[in-house]
Amino acid sequence: MNDYRIKGRGRVNPNRPVRFTFDGKTFSGFEGDTVASALLANGEHLMGRGFKYHRPRGVVTAGSEEPNALIGTSRGPGRFEPNTRATMQEIYSGLTTESQNKWPSLKFDLGAINDRLYMLFSAGFYYKTFMWPKSFWDKVYEPFIRRAAGLGRSPTELDPDHYASRYLHCDVLIVGSGPAGLAAALTAARSGASVTVVDEQAEMGGTLLSEPSPMIEGQPAWDWLATTLAELAGMPNVRLMHRTTAIGYYHQNMVGLCQKLTDHLSDVPADAPRERLWRVRAGQVILAQGAIERPMVFDGNDRPGVMMAGAAQTFLHRFGVKVGNRPVILTSHDSAWHTAFDLADAGCKVAAIVDTRTDIAPALMQAAMSRQIEVLTGHTATATGGRLRVKSIRVNPVRGGTVGAARTIACDAVLMCGGWTPSLHLFSHTKGSLDWDAKAKAYLPGHKTEAVHIAGAGRGLWGIAAALEDGAKAGADALRDLGRKAGAATYAVTGDRTGTGITQKELPTDRSPGSAKAFIDFQNDVTAKDIRLAVREGMRSIEHVKRYTTNGMATDQGKLSNMNGLTIASDALGKDIPQVGLTTFRPPYTPTTFGALAGYHKGSHFEVTRKTPIDSWAAENGAAFEPVALWRRAWYFPKAGEDMHAAVNRECRATRQSLGIFDASTLGKIEVSGPDAVEFMNRMYTNPWAKLAPGKCRYGLLLGEDGFIRDDGVIGRMRDDLFHVTTTTGGAARVLNMMEDYLQTEWPELQVWLTSTTEEWATIAINGPNARKLLAPLVEGQDMSDAAFPHMSVAECTVAGFPSRLFRISFTGELGFEVNVPARHGRALWEKLMAAGKPYDICPYGTETMHVLRAEKGYIIIGQDTDGTVTPEDAGIGWAIGKAKPDFVGKRSLARPDIVAKGRKQLVGLLTENPKTVLVEGAQIVLDPKQSKPMRMIGHVTSSYWSEALGRSIAMAVVEGGFDRMGDTLHIPTADGGSQAAKVTGCVFYDPEGDRLKVE
């Protein structure tokens, strides 16, 4: 195994070796290594394959912008994930990694055949092909395209990890801990402001980690870094967060952070979250994210071993790894010269510095000469050689626009630098403008929409001194905007490496540019030619170019490719760069785990499950549950061997014959209280309320202002100035909000207050001929006789010793009561009633039986028999409208032309010809089942049940002109192509006279 580690260099811990595997082979590195640095230390550059052509690819960068070295990682069952950047994944013992998008192996990939068919796969080729013959698309082409999709493989198991989240408020949030970020942090922190500094890397320091040579304030850079970090860490008002990426910049200085907590640990503590999402609200934000180095665009620039010069410098200084023994530098910027010098000083033989420029600073030339490095200025690169690793580079002089004779230089790495792009992704999220700076040849921050400052390389500044100065100033500016005073510190820097460079399109070549594979977007395999083709085909907007070629749409979101793409597109269009525009960067800054975004909202905590005080009894007694809004409700109580049908039939029978008990606690309850309560009720509900005496209750109907039914419930008048309003289970919050809206904004003159008491009370419904017999002995403070406490009464009394609001109402048609007791007593009361009900074979029933019993009586369920398009008249409950009232919510809409028109759908009963047939709820109704499709449908079945009491099926339906069709036979086509006949009836199927309510 080759060893490219340099003793005594780097910040990894040589005393802590770490073993991991890549494609089944074990490698070793040191604590502090990334997978990329460890593989490079072992001489492995080949880490992946391209998306389209499957060309071999090596690591290109040392950071989160890496487009090529994407790997699958795993640490055991359920803990696999694809597309992880090898440059960001720290190694730990037990880490298993694999390369992607290859078959059968990384070194021999059959998909590379696409590389031979290169010309067919030009930009936009999908849109032009696979259309003949048409029938092949569905069966042949499309499945083929889909199979070729994607990079890594999907996880397939449940993720055992958990994820956390926090809110954080601070005065100043600083993104990036390079010299600019640290200087800003020092300034802000020393003033006493609360400061948070985040950095995506495992270590703070940014550029400084790759630049040890300058002296800052008389200290070597790394000493200054250690001193600074220690000072900041020692301040209680400072929070330093490494391995933390600022993923998105949202309204009013809210920044989302994703912190990685365990993916670098060999031993993960139990209960440790893998990642944590932070939602930070900062008074001021300072973006000090530096700049990202651009590749050079030339034929063969994607061969493994061709990488960014800055990355090589990082691998050298931070990880103590040389990326090759014989590198060639290919650059148009001064910065790469320093990489050459550092590598030479570390013992590499730098084969040449190839610079596309002709004018080079004498100091650089001098420094190269002193190291005996050959310098080729005014040169272009026109090809590279090698298969799985670069072996040579072909370079040519360019004189007066003419490309001269080629020369091939043997090498094992090509380190390129096409200039630097300020990293302004987060600023771009704010919709701040990016303005083209002709001097810096870069887009720089322009108009700001948030309280944000950009410092350092993000503003096109170069060098550590400039970054420190600008960072300190940004810190002071932020403090000033916070209304604090501060002076910006100054920093003495020696040995700084400032420099300049130029921006250029694809490098000139002496070969046919049409056959050059000069890549811009490495991952998506977009070449310079693709950009030019897109322009040729009429794609003038940079957005069109991007979408047509997919340039910049890879997992690095164009961090490496956007500017090169734009430069070439503007050249092809013959326009200046700013006229061509810029594509928008979107959150997140780097791909962010779903788990982190979902946070605690996983499994049973995805959403609240509301349970009633009696729920635990139902669970203990074998109830089946159904979700209703956020609640879970007991659906039915099956006994051994019973299915739902059998259980419901038994529950229905028991209730009709003797006694049933039902948990109605989920019904919404609202106290409407105050001197104007009755006026308020009159305006909100369709019904008249003035004449309802205290101690009485009434069915209330609520419309929207559009005239359609919104909610209903029984409403009791407790006092002159107090109503106990009930709502549907799902409607409780909505109704209260609607009431508050009218009360606060339309009728503020009314002295009324609303309070939700849904959860104050547990509500138990007792129904059946023996209901009074059960309750009467338990009630104190209320005469339970029919005369004293008739149907539709309400009283405050005690039941089984518990203070209670007792209603005599019925949603079953049987003699019925609803007992409300303070919630803590709900289960105790239920158990007392169950015990006291034994002589009557008391039967607990669930929502399904409740639905059957109410349907037998024709009582509607809002949201089932009505659907937001149904008026009171449509539903056959026009009687609930107070005709004499001048106004109520929704009244005016009931006079609209279509609402008073004939032929509206009306709620009726249906009795199937075959009494055993239970129609499907939702089934459609037609007059003629034999008509051809599309059929004319005149309504649909809203409720349909087997009625145990009637010994036959019953149904409710909305039918066009239904009230005028009584006795008609209608038809309900079934899913299997058949049809059921049914007769239209009224909705009250059981006890139409209501005698059963009057049981003495």
Binding site: A164, R166, D271, R281, E759, R824
Partner: protein, 176 residues
Amino acid sequence: MNAPVKSFANVSIAVLPPVARLNLRIAPANLAAASAAFGLPLPTKIGQGVVKNGHAAWCLGPDEWLLHAPEAEQAAIVADFAKARTKAPHSLTVISDREFTIAITGPRAQEFLTVACPLDLSRMAPGTAKRTLFDSAQVVLIRDADDAFRIEVWRSFFPHVSELLDIALREFACGL
């Protein structure tokens, strides 16, 4: 309902025993009558609280107060307010059973609450209370001291909030 106190990493969680809890709605102009009935000067600024002789009141809205008192006094308080109703119209609703109260105390209590509370708690003074959200549950958050908070949460949301607090407590305990 009295769950045992759970404590890790400088944070303790406990479910508090029931109190008489009342929701008072009254026009600010009539506040004096309510103060007299409850036996303490009701605060007038949203968020502010007053504690006196075992009675506590916090202003939650321009015409809304949350009242706490010993359970045994609930009936008397209701009766006292009822006497004032004609002269000073108001709504007094018993909500003692609507909510549970969870106490979160300890040096890291404030930080602990940031797992699900979106407010800037550094700006919340001891003695104040606010209605807000804890995760997706509406709560009233009361700050008793720098290191002592109470969360009042509706009964059916309590398990969700409580389980979330347990998860967070384990998270704090593991130190990551």
